[in-house]
Structures are given as C-alpha cells and as structure tokens.
Symmetry: C2
C-alpha cells in the first residue's frame, strides 16, 4: 500500500467514524472546519496585488487580467468549461476558483505550483493564456509612474521584479477567503443556520464517504486523487493530471481535489468542466468515485447542503489602475 | 453657411472672446464648465445596472461584459486602438470612454444611438462584440433567480425585458461622472489647484481654438465635427462617421468630438486609436484641425492642462453577481 493509499484509507476511515457521530457535534469533531477570516499583514502589499490582479497590461493583448478567468464577481472563476485565452485560445482545463486557494496543498489541477506565489507568474507567460512574458510584464510596470511609486512604498525599491509582482498578487489572493457561510455558522453552533434538508444532506455527504476527499477548511484542496476510482471517467480534456509533474504513472489522472467552498458559484465542475450543474456533478462523483447511485431525493439533499458552503464574497472597491506613461509598451493583441 | 458651420464659427468666436478674459474669470465666463456630481434617483435601478454592466453572461461567450471594453478600472476604456470582441474579433473603431458619456449629444462615434439607453443594447447583439442577441440575453437573465428577484423589486414584475436591461445599464452609466478634477476646483475659484504651466496650457488651449469643439462640462461630446478640417486625416479605421447615420455626404468623416475629461486615462486617441500618447494627439489635432504647429513647449503646456481634467474615478464595491441556475443557458464561446 502506497503512503497515499494509506492516507486515503485513513481519511475514509476517519470520515466513517465522524459520520456515526451526532451532527450536533462540535466543529472539532467534524471533517469540515470553518474558514478563518484573512489576517492582512501588509495592507500596501495587498492593495498593490489587487491592482495587478485586475491589470490587463500584464497580458500581451492588454485585454486579459487575472480577473478575466478568476472573476471575483463570479465565485473566482469564469464559469466556462475551459478558459478563453490570448487570441481566443481554448484552454485545456477548467479554471479553478481563486477563492480560498491559499488553503490548497498546491496550485493548478496537477499541483505543479507549490503555492500562490509560484502560480501567479504562470498565466502571464503562458502563450495560450495572457501570452506576455516576465521581461515585458516588468518593463510595462516599470514604465508606469503610479506603480513605481507603489512598489517603492511596498518593497523599498523602485526596481520592479517579477518576484515582487507575484508576491503582491499572492498576498492579495490570500485575502480571498470566504468565511461566514451558513454551514460555518452551523458548525460553530448556530443550529438555526441550516434547514433540516441541508443537515440531512450533510449527513448523507459524510455517510457516503464524500468527506474522504472533501474535508478540512476548504472542503477539498488538500490532496490529489484519482478521477474515476470505481468507474473510469471519460474526460473531454487532454489533461493527464499529477503524472505530468511527478512522472509517476501511478499519478496518471490524479487531480487536486477541488474545494467545495462556494461551489454554487463555481460551475461548471470537474477539470474538464463537463458537469454543468451540481446535481450532475454529485451524480457523477457518487458513481465514479464511490460506486453509489444517489436517488433523486438524496441528490437534492446533498446539493442543498453544498449550497450552504457559500461564504462572504470579495468585499472591496473596484481598483483604479495607474495610467500608462508615454513610454509604456503598448499592447499588441493582433500581432502573430 | 450651414447651421453647423455657423455654430462652429460662433463657438470659435466665443472661445476667442473668452481667451482674452482673465483666466481668473468665474466658471460662467469659461468655455468649460465643472462636472456636476451624479444625482441618483433610483438606487435599486443603478445597483441592478451595475451588476448587468459587469455580467459576462450577456455575451455569447460568457467572457465579455460591458466592462471588458469600457473598463472602469482604466478610465472607462480598454486602452486599445480598437476593441477585441467575440472570437478575438478586431473592432473597427476605438471604444470611447463610458465616463461622463451621459453628457454626450448622442452615443457612438457616429451618434447612431440617441442616448445611453439606446446604446446599451447594441454591443450585446453585435456579432463582432458580445455576439449574443436580445432574446438569449433576456432568457439568460430570466433563468437566474437572483436577477428575477431584483427585476421584480425594481420594475414591479418578474418578467425581464431588454428595455429593462438597457434602462438599468443606462441608469448605472449615468452615475459615472467624474467631478472634482483639479481643473474644476480651479474653475470654481481654488486658484492653487493648478500650477502655472497648467494655467498657461489652458490659456493656450483656448487661444488656439481647441475650445471651439472641446467645450462644455465634458470638454467635448456635444457636437459632430470633421476629422481633418485643415489637412486630411489618414485614418487606419474604415469608419466613415456621421454620414452612415444621416446619409448626408456633408457628414462624411464627421465624428462626435470626444470628451477630454480623464483624457490622461483614455489613451490611445482618435476614432482609430492611432495616437498613442497625448503629445501625439495634441500635435495632430493642432495640425489637421487648426493648421497650427505647436512648439514642444506649447505641446507640453497643453498636455499639462489636459492632465488636470482627471476627476473622481468610479468609487464602488466590485459587484457580486447572482449565480446561474441549472436552467440557465450556458455560454458557447467556441461554437461557430
């Protein structure tokens, strides 16, 4: 038995143990924990990162920002099967939500970035996404007096580096946690926060083994698992999963378990975005991961529970970006 | 002499008169008037319109919203020569700023929409822009419970119509005025609000005849004028201007005079976006509209004045959009 299999087995075991406990139990006894509010350590860094997150000038076209595919008005996603990138490129994979992504064990579906800092530079330079490069992105920012002043304040130097850029974006993203969902209120003891069918849905979610993978504060995001344990999944995406990172064939088609926080907002589901609705996603997951065929009533209850995981959404003013100077390299959206 | 020529002549005359008056004159004696803050009559209508303005589901792709090309983080423009539309379509014309657009005599560069209400429906159904259609856009909104409830509150009925949609978007856009620029403070009597070179730039702007067209509260936006009065303009855009609306050959290459409010933020300039910087735009305008060759010093002064026209930028929280329901038609970005 591999370590991973052992851990999975242990987690399933724990889930089963938990599921036999009263649903009135304290949070400590539950496989899901409340989300903690973000603690902002460096306001200036976060504010700079927020601007950069919304800045389309980090793309070659001047049209695509982080917020284009991880739209904070829409659950931190683009609500598309797979994303649209530079030159209307069809992305190979569904854009995961940025909300609560700081709680992920690693970033991207295959975990190829160890943290948000490492992730943030990827899309900027990906030819099928923002299609810029780190040299150009830094040159653009360095030419904008408003940014130079802000980098000076935050980092103590007027020289902009890509490391500073990704650090600022990551610091902003770390604030994008979503506490105070109805489920979290219930977890913390407010038993009126959930309706009976929602509590029943949670019990069913646990009893069925969903919490084997979807557990912790993010209700997922903390392990890699095979997509299609009991039954093979016919993906429409070419993505191979974790094997691309580890080169270990045992990791083929292993993907990071997505967080279920705010799952009502983050449709469509799965790494290929092929499940358009929550009932579809619950049905498929039950079948291919657990060998279970949920009845329509069971499916409805689980979906009702899942919709209680929507927490406080981003709550800040639309950032106003500093204007380019005459020296700023202009976007080239139609250059080949 | 046509009525338009007469008015232009009169305006030039007035501008010359004004320019001989003291720059300490009261606003009533100046060709430019301060921007008045927006008076919000119906908060619910504006809030609904704000959500719709940011909602990518009004596009076929689910990727493009009003804010994509009239980006409120970037002066209400996309800062591109011409916009990117559905399927990476290269638009035929520069996207004008939405800021202070309620002050325009009409909407679009050729004035083909009489007001913001009439404008708002255009891009939604334009195959090269958002590429949806009004029937689909309404069907999408009608399927979203959060919107239906909000339309009910605002309009008293759960039935969504495209007229309600454009009315709400227009009501939001009417709030996007930008008062309190340094120039407006100066106009209102705060003589310390401008530096000497900025005041000199304003005087030169008036003395040169720029205020013949760029006048009023929006410093433009209130008339159609020929692009290239003294010297022909070699446009890169196929746009023919006002003639497309009036079918009057006298209106060929007549365009709405753009507002100069927030002009530091709304680069690049002209209907084809070919002037990348303010110095370039000032140089070209002087040459082709006024037959003047500004010296580098004059150009610098006028640019310094123009940068004092940046007012209060949009100041509101990023809207959070209501999620789609299982019945909501899904975006089809890659369907031909």
């Amino acid at each position: 038995m591999t370590l991973k299999a052992a851990l999975l087995s242990l987690t399933v075991g724990l889930a089963v143990t938990f599921s036999s406990a009263s649903v009135m139990a304290k949070p400590a006894d539950e496989p899901i924990q409340p989300i903690q509010p973000a603690k902002v350590k460096n306001v200036g860094l976060v504010e700079l990162g927020k601007k950069l997150y919304f800045d389309t000038r980090l793309s070659k076209s001047g049209f695509i920002s982080c917020n284009s595919c991880h739209n904070l008005s829409m659950g931190g996603t683009d609500n598309l099967k797979t994303s649209i990138g530079h030159n209307w490129n069809k992305g190979p994979i569904n854009a995961p939500t940025v909300l609560n992504s700081s709680l992920n064990v690693a970033q991207f579906w295959d975990g190829r970035a160890k943290d948000l800092n490492a992730q943030a530079g990827g899309p900027i330079a990906n030819p099928g996404e923002m299609a810029s490069n780190h040299t150009l992105a830094v040159e653009v920012l360095q030419s904008i007096p408003g940014y130079v002043a802000e980098f000076k304040t935050v980092f103590g130097t007027e020289k902009v580096t890509i490391e500073e850029v990704t650090k600022a974006i990551a610091a902003f993203e770390e604030t994008l946690v979503t506490p105070n969902s109805r489920f979290d209120k219930w977890l913390k003891g407010d038993k009126k926060a959930l309706k009976a069918d929602e509590v029943a849905g949670y019990k069913l979610f646990k009893d069925s083994g969903c919490t084997a993978c979807h557990n912790g504060a993010a209700v997922g995001g903390n392990s890699f698992q095979k997509m299609g344990v009991v039954e093979a999944y016919q993906a429409t995406s070419p993505a191979e999963g974790r094997v691309g990172v580890t080169k270990d064939e045992a990791d083929r088609f292993n993907f990071k378990v997505p967080t279920l926080r705010n799952v009502e907002l983050t449709y469509p589901y799965f790494h290929d975005g092929e499940a358009a609705t929550l009932p579809q996603a619950v049905d498929t997951m039950g079948r291919i991961q657990l060998g279970k065929k949920f009845t329509p009533e069971e499916n409805t209850k689980i979906v009702a529970f899942l919709k209680t995981l929507t927490g406080d959404q981003p709550n800040f003013k639309l950032p106003i970006l500093p204007p380019s100077s005459d020296a700023t390299p202009r976007p080239t959206p139609f250059d080949k």
